[in-house]
């Protein structure tokens, strides 16, 4: 799974408020500008959007809906009855449950803690937390493969406490959701901690001082003042992480190769779609699974854009 590049949006969003304010003064076209100029500037992007965003989505839907007699849901029914379909979705939802809950708790807690530190110390911590983002994907999966191998792992003492002797003990089927959650947290949490830290910096100092004068301790200030004020970033993180997490692919793929198939090749829905397409030559069924995933991502994105009020579509 690639860590969503959009994880940095909220930082930029902070400045976007100014953009929104500016936008209100921009009802009329800027003096002297012409409409055709606008089309010219967005032309290349629109071509890419149509060719690489809209067209493949329509193509997938058409493939998924094609049936012998015309249009139908036969491929959706096919995949739904496929014996690996339900487990694949169960796997990713279990993984997401563990990951989203723990990431939300730890990211918010760590951001609050980092925020109370002196600036230089906090910069160091933020950098350490952020650095693993450099190895998102295959690299992190390999490193964690070693971390989860009881012989030679720096975390061997923890693995031994669970009586794990070899890698296959650690990657037992029941452990996989938590293993992928740890990998996702390792590469993704740092970026979010930096973002939450930025959001915390935006809280007016007077508000926090007023609470302290009223006798609020650090814990109460965090719970009653700071967390409610950064709530929308927390929601944003949850939604983005949910959408990205449903697409899990690279981690189970790498672990599958490394354990010689101990992690099934169709552990996640995306792997299932891949195998339907390239191992079984069932492209229409694969397209149906892709559409399922696309719908999950689309619904989440649309809810966030229209209801979340995070983005100023002026």
């Amino acid at each position: 799974m690639t860590v969503p590049s959009a994880t940095v949006v909220p930082d930029e969003r902070v400045s976007a408020r100014r953009g929104r304010r500016a936008a209100r003064h921009r009802e009329r076209p800027p003096a002297g500008s012409s409409r055709t100029a606008g089309y010219f500037f967005v032309a290349l992007y629109v071509v890419l959007l149509l060719a690489l965003g809209v067209a493949p989505a329509i193509y997938a839907i058409a493939l998924a809906l094609s049936a012998p007699g015309g249009i139908g849901f036969a491929h959706f029914v096919n995949t739904f009855n496929f014996f690996e379909f339900a487990p694949a979705f169960e796997h990713v939802f279990e993984f997401e449950g563990i990951w989203l809950v723990s990431q939300t708790f730890f990211v918010v807690t760590l951001a609050l803690m980092v925020h109370t530190l002196a600036r230089r110390v906090s910069t160091t911590f933020r950098f350490i937390f952020y650095l693993p983002g450099a190895m998102a994907g295959a690299a992190s999966a390999i490193v964690w493969l070693f971390m989860f191998t009881p012989s030679g792992s720096p975390w061997a003492f923890i693995l031994h406490a669970f009586h794990y002797q070899v890698l296959s003990n650690t990657v037992a089927p029941g452990n996989l959701p938590i293993i992928f959650a740890i990998m996702a947290f390792f590469t993704g949490a740092g970026g979010w901690i930096v973002i939450m830290y930025g959001a915390l910096n935006n809280i007016p100092q007077e508000l926090i001082e007023a609470a302290e004068i009223d006798g609020s301790n650090a814990f109460q200030t965090a719970l009653r003042i700071k967390i409610p004020l950064i709530r929308k970033w927390i929601v944003y993180m949850l939604v983005l992480a949910f959408a990205a997490g449903s697409q899990l692919f690279v981690e189970p793929q790498i672990l599958g190769v490394a354990t010689n198939g101990e992690v099934p090749a169709q552990w996640s829905p995306n792997q299932l779609a891949y195998n339907l397409a390239f191992q079984l030559d069932r492209f229409n069924d694969a397209a149906a699974v892709s559409v399922d995933l696309l719908v999950i991502g689309l619904v989440v994105a649309v809810i966030l854009v229209w209801r979340g009020k995070l983005f100023g579509v002026d």
Binding site: S5, V42, P56, A57, A60, L131, L167, V250, F283, A301
Partner: protein, 292 residues
């Protein structure tokens, strides 16, 4: 009151240190692992330093693996990432400018669609993209990877935010009154002011492209085309310790320190960018949100 406050701080610091270890230990391990032999890696302390000579041997073994495959993979990664990033910038910077500072029918709709596709994980479109690439006979060419990378709505959004919040409209209006055409205004006024956002978009696009696994996994089909992310999987498949079936290829065996070295080499470009961009990433990135 005071001792209690110190107690809070101490507990907070202890928790922070535990998590710092969680994030940092794997990185340290990765740097130390190639200094050791396979035997040392398993039997010595994970934080023991082997020797620089072993590090050099491991490096050579990885680079020279099967006719310097590693270099081919790195070259492919560079072509895909640099090509994808360049095209993404070429499309995103003018588009962000057009969305922020010009008026045209459909502007709001385009902005809304951009936000939606930006949030949707790109991986959902990979299989349909493969079918599309196959239909237009792009499979087997670099464009099958570069073109999907060029579509980077997040970059358009960042450029839009930047242009709408930092470029004074009066400046553009003044230039127009002075007789500058629309392209002239963009080229001579907006673009020179956009350097920070060009750098930021280039950073995010490059890192996302370099680390991408699923798209090239689907679009490329042999070692001459694989980027280094897929190359790492090939290496794991050749490591008898993980894939016992691979032990038949005794001549091309890959050991655990080799895998660690290959991983280190694979992340090096992004790691270097991260370290150099540290100031921007951890501080400057938070435009309007910094404490100081």
């Amino acid at each position: 009151m005071l001792p209690r406050r110190y107690a809070y701080r101490l507990i907070a610091l202890a928790i922070l240190l535990v998590f710092a270890a969680f994030f940092f230990v794997p990185m340290i391990w990765l740097i130390l692992a190639p200094t050791k032999t396979d035997y040392q890696l398993v039997h010595e302390s994970p934080f023991a330093f082997g020797s620089l000579a072993t590090f050099g041997h491991t490096f050579n073994r990885v680079i020279n693996y099967q006719g310097q495959l590693m270099l081919i993979w790195l070259k492919n990664s560079a072509i895909y990432s640099v090509g994808g990033t360049a095209l993404a910038l070429l499309a995103a910077i003018p588009a962000g400018y057009g969305l922020a500072l010009t008026q045209f029918i459909g502007r709001r709709a385009l902005l809304a669609i951009t936000l939606v596709v930006m949030i949707m994980p790109a991986t959902a479109l990979v299989l349909p993209l493969f079918l599309e690439a196959s239909a237009v006979h792009l499979l087997g060419t670099v464009w099958a990877v570069i073109l999907p990378f060029a579509f980077f709505p997040f970059g358009v959004y960042l450029a839009y935010i930047y242009f709408s919040s930092t470029i004074p409209k009066d400046l553009l209006a003044a230039a127009r009154i002075d007789g500058a055409g629309e392209w002239g205004v963009f080229r001579h006024i907006a673009l020179p002011l956009a350097r920070p956002i060009v750098a930021l978009i280039a950073f995010f696009a490059f890192v996302a492209d370099w680390n991408n696994y699923y798209l090239p996994f689907v679009m490329t089909y042999d070692n001459s085309q694989y980027p280094v992310t897929i190359g790492l999987q090939v290496l794991i498949g050749s490591a008898p310790i993980f894939s016992p079936t691979a032990s038949g290829y005794a001549a091309s065996e890959i050991y655990r320190p080799d895998l660690a070295m290959a991983t280190l080499i694979a992340i090096m470009p992004v790691l270097i960018i991260f370290v150099f961009a540290q100031r921007t990433l951890v501080k400057g990135m938070l435009a309007g949100a910094t404490k100081e």
